[in-house]
Symmetry: C2
């Protein structure tokens, strides 16, 4: 049984603690947090002072916001144990001067009030010491069937892909919903289209699934849409994504021209 | 029982015919198409010549590509019946000189090989003659529990929202998948993140669901991402969507600055 200390009580920390609650191979022996959320998962566990940090755990997981990792790391005065963070865009070297450094990056969006099924979440692992691979692998295997070794540079690229997928997609959903409101249409009317869009992209792959005016090179409709959009920033979004679609399928469109 | 003629054998026409196959209130009496797809839904029905067009149907549905609607309409020489098209961005007036014009626009993406559950699809209706409202409403009710009356101008706006939601979201999925390939990561590893992104946006609404560097005003990560992106067009996409997110939450970010 691996013993881990979780530092942080935010969404990632909470989901990790929940997922390890019934684990046979990983035990959360301590949770460190500045504030003490009133939640069953934290009960009986939470120590709110870093000075009380256990010195006997196999792994110390820093699950706090990106901007706090450096500060939290400096307060971990246990130097012979494995210290890991959970962030996509932060280098493993941020955990220096610890010698046994690691990263445990679950590729998922975690939010208050939403339970995540960890068994489907890919976890990306990195370690500075080959000897610690076994610990990280056991931690990943205890949660998910899908783990991958990835260095900090590549993880940063992956995080960028996740920003496109999650942050940017979500903003497009926001913009399309806002366009519906003045029409007297509840944005939830778009949900079936959204669900089919995603199901289709996953089934066929987004390259084959692409449709629409930019895909078929229909400049008349593109022009008409550009004139309908009043906000210059949204116009720019429309223009540049349409250009990118046209450039992706450019050779094919020329063939049919 | 309403009798309808479906003109077209593409994805929309096919799904309409499938959905009305077992209907108690709408019967597809004729399907007109240039080519004859070998599919059970078309069997025994398909007439491939416009000159054989029945003169006795209650409604004639033009379900062809946007650019063909005008031409197909000119070939419909039945002038005392209701003629409708199914396109989001085409005006009802395109169906002139027919006096009894209508629009039957299902807000969904239809593709070969994918069955759509019509009962969840919102259908947007328009008619030039109040007397025909009943026919269109009956056609919509026979398929879906969600129909809405919307004029051509508003439908064009709605179609624009659908382009953001479907076409642009799909392209972002494509771009994020392409970013994974050089990392040795199969784009399907992004699927759990995608599914949670969409589930969360639908549950909380995309305004509340927004996360990421642009949302929290983290210019250091934005700058780092911009430097990671090599393609100028993708850089522009990153920049303008991040700006749009920052402008959406601008006042809030200032408050916390």
């Amino acid at each position: 049984m691996l013993s881990v200390v979780v530092i942080g009580t935010g969404n990632v920390a909470r989901q990790l603690c929940l997922a390890w609650q019934d684990s046979d191979s990983v035990e959360v022996v301590q949770i460190i947090g500045r504030s003490i959320p009133k939640e069953p998962v934290f009960e009986g566990h939470l120590i709110n002072l870093m000075k009380d940090l256990s010195h006997d755990a196999d792994c110390y997981i820093i699950a706090v916001s990106d901007s706090s990792i450096l500060t939290v790391n400096q307060h971990i005065t246990v130097f012979d144990k494995l210290v890991v963070h959970t962030a996509g865009s932060i280098s493993i070297d941020t955990l220096k001067p610890h010698v046994r450094r690691g990263v445990f990056y679950p590729l998922q969006t975690f939010s208050a009030g939403r339970e995540v099924d960890f068994s489907t979440v890919p976890v990306f692992l990195e370690t500075s010491e080959d000897g610690d691979k076994k610990i990280l692998q056991q931690m990943a295997d205890s949660l998910s069937g899908r783990s991958h070794w990835l260095d900090s540079d590549k993880r940063r690229q992956l995080h960028l892909a996740a920003v496109y997928l999650n942050n940017f997609t979500n903003h497009l959903l926001f913009l399309s919903g806002e366009q519906c409101r003045p029409l007297g249409i509840n944005p939830s009317m778009l949900h079936p289209l959204l669900q089919e869009t995603v199901a289709k992209a996953m089934a066929l792959g987004p390259y084959k699934a692409q449709t629409g005016p930019a895909r078929r090179g229909d400049n008349a409709v593109i022009q008409e849409h550009m004139e309908l959009i009043e906000d210059p920033m949204q116009q720019e979004i429309y223009k540049v994504i349409s250009q990118s679609i046209q450039s992706t399928y450019g050779n094919e469109l020329q063939k049919h021209a």
